[in-house]
Subunit: 258 residues, 2 copies
């Protein structure tokens, strides 16, 4: 199995509420189709989730009744994005079927409490490609919480031990500084636990509702323990995703288990 | 709990592929909102599901690889309809959240093999209104099969024993003959198991991929055993649904347990 994350910052414009990057998503879908048939895909919520979720503190769980309308609205928005992604995938020839996180997992305190892989396994065995996503989910301790796409990636990697995990980001990989701010930032081609120290402090703390960049990297380090190869590629550069899942040389960061 | 089925023949034009009856659905959403807050809703797939499912024999389960693209396409279409229904409900003030059948149940031979009510219970306890729907689902015996909205209604009724179950149809209730063909058809105000014999043979056999009308009525008779009151109302007549869930007198068929 190849497990691919389509980052929310790649398939949406993260600064603009509910703006889908259709052409990018369609290109990535074609790259996925050309490279390989047996895929499990997870996508982030991007601007269909984070903006409203942050505005109403949904990542902090249930605090007041007035949040509930926003829980419903964010869930709806995220499903709209999921439908757009499904459409792009199906149009490119991938037999994509949606599996929301709450269809396979229960959550407690923002973490996965239990994970039932049957839906993913059944779909994959039939020859279908499951597609999951970041979502607002019921939470046994918090009422509701956010399940990030990365959290689903970790649950799937643990369960299925894929040969390859690819994170599609809006940068070439992990840099020693924020590449969008510092021209001198250098790509780290092999990222292990010790590399966490190389990261500038401030750069590790840009937060969205699913946590800091440091938190994301810690999760990738954990995921790398459950697959043969884990890498980050730039989904905005045509061909990178396709090269990565075809096993060809490509500009990327390989995440080392640690 | 009040459990409401929005029939696929009411919220879609069943003869025309993927045609949503937006105004009707918006009106029904307003009726639901005005009448009561604590709701669980199931909708049929209508022309977003049946037409393609029938064309490619999806109700018969996995027969050949070429069906799989259609499984993905029908799933996608049904999610598009679900999103439209969610939108109408949320716009009317109902805090609706989607729960696909495969998120709560497993299936074997076209029947429910196991049902986990947690997602529905958690959402309801928070004050959200779960919305499920008819769908193509993984099936342990058939590869995939169709879970009708009515099958979900039965699973939910068994589990939660609602005080009221309302089926929103495109006719006033159950008639002794097909009311769309025979002007002399008479409404059966109280329908019990013995009433099955009153139905004209031919009228009980118009089939879609979820079975004959007789099959649907048998399911309603089963559902009536798990609730205080089970009724069928005409969703095309403004106010009927609202009157039904407000406990007011309304033209309908009451389905008796049996």
């Amino acid at each position: 199995m190849i497990l691919v994350k389509l980052g929310g910052s790649v398939i949406t414009d993260k600064g603009k509420l509910r703006s889908f990057r259709k052409l990018t998503c369609e290109r990535l879908a074609k790259e996925l189709w050309r490279a390989r048939d047996s895929l499990t895909i997870v996508h982030g919520a991007g601007s269909f989730g984070h903006i409203r979720a942050k505005e109403h503190g949904l990542h902090k769980g249930f605090k007041r009744k007035s949040q509930l309308g926003h829980v419903a609205a964010v869930q709806r928005d995220v499903r709209e994005l999921n439908l757009k992604v499904l459409e792009a995938l199906i149009d490119s020839g991938i037999r994509a079927v949606s599996i929301p996180p709450a269809a396979a997992a229960t959550f407690r305190g923002g973490a996965v409490a239990s994970f039932n892989p049957d839906a993913f396994r059944n779909m994959t065995q039939l020859g279908l490609s499951p597609v999951s996503f970041g979502d607002v989910v019921p939470d046994e301790a918090m009422g509701f919480s956010i399940c990030s796409g990365d959290l689903m990636m970790e649950a799937l990697a643990k369960e299925f031990e894929p040969e390859l995990v690819v994170f599609c980001a809006d940068v070439d990989g992990v840099f020693d500084r924020d590449p969008k701010r510092a021209r001198s930032a250098r790509l780290i081609p092999d990222f292990g636990r010790p590399s966490l120290k190389l990261l500038g402090r401030s750069d590790a703390q840009h937060a969205d509702v699913t946590g800091s960049i440091r938190g994301k990297l810690e999760r990738m380090l954990a995921i790398a323990q459950h697959c043969e190869k884990c890498m980050i590629v730039n989904g905005n550069v045509p061909g990178r995703l396709e090269r990565a899942i075809s096993g060809k040389e490509v500009i990327s960061t390989v995440v080392l288990p640690g």
